[in-house]
């Protein structure tokens, strides 16, 4: 939307209303994290700023476009809106974006099938001319998350939007993540230069290796190569598909001496949050005892040349596979990440240690990785309604869960991936509270693009509500799997209990799953987490000592003076009752250009009304003055006319 008045500050105040679902609150926080990672837009809890976004559970998903300067600007995340892309979509509206297909140049790229649109819905396909809306110099984007899907507002079974390039017919309407163009526009609109929590990304395609340096005092070096003796034969970024590209860093333990170390250090990095996630792909073709260790070199006044601090040793025996690893860091001052390869064994192994697609961001790491090998084959050859299961993973709080995936959908949904989360318990498990309270499980199919900011991973989250009853039953859905689940036997012969699944039959279509880098080297990678979200059951604190200019609509938030005197006083339009000099009085809501008044705040006044009133008064006074003037003039004229008549004489025979 054109106009600087519609921009928000890059740090947007938000207030999460009590009526939001707990799962929605968790997903909203995840959406904020994506904004922070991929743009300079950040969010903070409302602390009394004049304008803020109030997120509530309305009957649907909706938002205004841009900052309307109304104080409390509402954005609804209703039932079924608790998906990360839906939330990002609504916030893009709030930030000032219309839908992609309402661009002025829309008709150059898609054909609107007017006769297939439901009656009365045609207005949804209006475009805005380029005096209202700017595309910011970014080409029309079929892959925008702000685009309608092809069947939007249809009256039958035929699509309402036909893309002029047929290959994009099923691309429009993606609700996975920001596209590159979405981000480019966001950056241009808000003058972003970098992501707030992004630190570094390197796929080693350029010779400068992203400013990484060989460490001090080591005896061997990491080398940038396209293939290595003993493996790997290709990098991971391109998998060797492009001639002349596809590099990675390799420390050859085959040629090194026992005890040799090779340090590869990142460029200097400046943390803000104090915690980071390091993610990289690692190929280990070295000897079984050779190691890769992660350190940080931290700089402060006492250590101007940096001080090495050990973080962890990367586990894993040699495998003919690029393996994904995550390492949580906690650097709080200027630092570098250090990869230390060491040849420990004396035996000769042809290979070595290899690194590729390194990403570092100030975010939390995913907890668990489930890699499904040969995934295209699995999708194409698994019968419908047949599930595969991830290994059981145990969270920090001691709850175990697993992902159930239907590679070819559940009954009635062929061509889809269906995904469910199940709680798991073993005989003898102790220490958990049942039904499981407020744990959010997130199932993310990772887009394996080398650059973390360009990924459009697909994720869904579900949250355990300890009060939820199973349909048609008195049992709690999230109760102990030993009570509500079934006993199953794992591949290793161990037995455990699996609770009922909670998820979606329409996690992702096969068509989308086969797009981008969801499958790389034949494999798909699911990143799974279970987080405690019980703190989200509490109300978000209101700004201290600030009477809210737009109090939240749900009663638990209202800072009402809950005395008996106010019990019988009902203030309308968001007003609150307070006791003033012993009398209950309504304090009415006030915005920047409107206000409520009256003993119950029942009347509304606006700047417009005030202007109209002032204009009307002025015109009335002017009118009265004009009338008085005209009457006065008339009277005076009449009087003089009369007088001149009475004093007139007829002069006769003057010259006689």
């Amino acid at each position: 939307i054109i106009g600087d008045e519609y921009r928000w500050p890059t740090m947007i105040p938000y207030y999460m209303e009590d009526d939001l679902e707990i799962n929605a609150k968790g997903v909203i926080l995840k959406a904020f994290e994506q904004y922070r990672l991929k743009s300079c837009i950040d969010f903070k809890p409302w602390s009394g700023e004049a304008n803020y976004i109030s997120i509530f559970k309305g009957s649907g998903c909706f938002s205004s476009v841009g900052n309307r300067h109304v104080g409390k600007q509402r954005l609804s995340i209703g039932t079924n809106c608790d998906r990360i892309a839906t939330i990002e979509h609504e916030f893009l509206h709030a930030l000032g974006f219309w839908h992609e297909q309402s661009r002025a140049d829309r008709d150059d790229y898609v054909k609107i099938m007017w006769d297939r649109i439901s009656e009365g819905k045609e207005h949804n396909f209006n475009t805005y001319d380029d005096t209202t809306s700017s595309s910011l110099g970014v080409p029309y984007d079929y892959g925008s998350m702000m685009h309608y899907s092809k069947n939007a507002f249809r009256n039958g079974t035929e699509p309402t939007i036909v893309t002029k390039i047929p290959a994009f017919s099923d691309v429009i309407g993606q609700r996975m993540e920001f596209s590159d163009s979405d981000l480019l526009k966001l950056h241009r609109l808000y003058n972003c230069t970098q992501g707030s929590t992004f630190l570094d990304s390197c796929d080693f395609e350029r010779e400068n290796i992203c400013g990484m340096v060989q460490g001090q005092g080591d005896k061997a070096d990491w080398v940038r190569v396209a293939k290595a003796a003993g493996g790997p034969d290709t990098d991971y970024s391109n998998l060797g598909k492009c001639t002349g590209s596809g590099y990675f860093m390799h420390f050859s333990t085959g040629t090194a001496n026992t005890g040799d170390t090779a340090l590869l250090e990142s460029r200097l990095l400046y943390p803000i949050r104090g915690y980071q996630c390091l993610q990289f792909f690692y190929y280990n073709s070295a000897g079984a005892s050779d190691t890769l260790k992660i350190y940080v070199r931290e700089y402060d006044k006492a250590n101007p040349n940096g001080k090495l601090r050990f973080i962890k040793t990367i586990d894993g025996s040699p495998q003919e596979l690029w393996q994904l690893h995550h390492v949580s860091l906690d650097a709080k001052t200027k630092f570098r990440v250090v990869f230390e390869g060491t040849k420990v064994g004396s035996g000769s192994s042809a290979g070595g240690l290899s690194l590729d697609d390194i990403n570092l961001s100030e975010t939390t790491c995913p907890e668990f990785i489930w890699r499904v090998k040969n995934f295209s084959h699995v999708m194409d050859n698994t019968p419908a309604n047949t599930a595969i299961y991830s290994p059981p993973f145990t969270s920090k709080e001691g709850y175990t869960f697993q992902m159930k995936l239907y590679p070819n959908g559940t009954e009635g949904y062929p061509g889809e991936l269906s995904a469910y989360a199940n709680l798991v318990a073993r005989e003898g498990d102790t220490g958990q509270k049942w039904p499981c309270p407020w744990k959010q499980m997130t199932m993310m199919l990772m887009d394996q693009n080398p650059h973390i900011q360009k990924r459009m991973s697909n994720q869904r989250s579900v949250t355990t509500d300890p009060n939820m009853k199973a349909s048609g039953s008195d049992q709690f859905f999230w109760d102990d799997p030993r009570k509500v689940g079934v006993e199953v036997t794992d591949v290793d012969g161990s037995k455990y209990f699996r609770g009922p699944g909670y998820g979606t039959a329409v996690y992702l279509t096969h068509l989308r799953a086969k797009s981008r880098d969801f499958i790389k080297g034949g494999d798909a990678i699911f990143l799974l987490t279970m987080e405690d979200v019980s703190h989200l059951t509490e109300s978000q604190p209101l700004p201290p000592s600030q009477p809210p200019s737009h109090p939240p609509t749900t009663t638990p938030h209202l800072p009402t003076a809950t005395t008996d005197m106010c019990n019988h006083v009902e203030c309308e339009n968001g007003g609150i009752c307070v006791v003033d000099e012993g009398e209950p009085t309504c304090r009415c809501m006030v915005g920047e250009d409107y206000w409520y008044y009256g003993d119950r705040c029942q009347y509304v006044g606006t700047l417009w009304d005030k202007t109209v009133l002032a204009l009307a008064s002025s015109l009335s006074v002017l009118g009265v003055m004009v009338v008085i003037t005209i009457v006065s003039v008339c009277c005076v004229r009449m009087r003089y006319k009369k007088r001149s008549k009475s004093h007139s004489m007829i002069m006769e025979n003057m010259h006689a």
Binding site: N80, C81, H99, S149, F153, G412, A470, G485
Partner: protein, 45 residues
């Protein structure tokens, strides 16, 4: 495998609902499906 005691729960009710479908089912008739206009914009419209 024995039949589970409790059936799986589909949060989407088995339907791939887009934002606009959700809002339509909720009886909303917003501009472009999910945009709220303020008084000023409505007047302009």
């Amino acid at each position: 495998l024995p039949t589970p005691k409790i059936l799986d729960y589909d949060v989407d009710g088995g339907r791939d609902l887009d934002i606009f479908d959700i809002n339509e089912e909720a009886g909303l008739n917003l501009v472009e499906g999910d945009i709220v206009l303020d008084k000023r914009q409505t007047r302009n419209s």
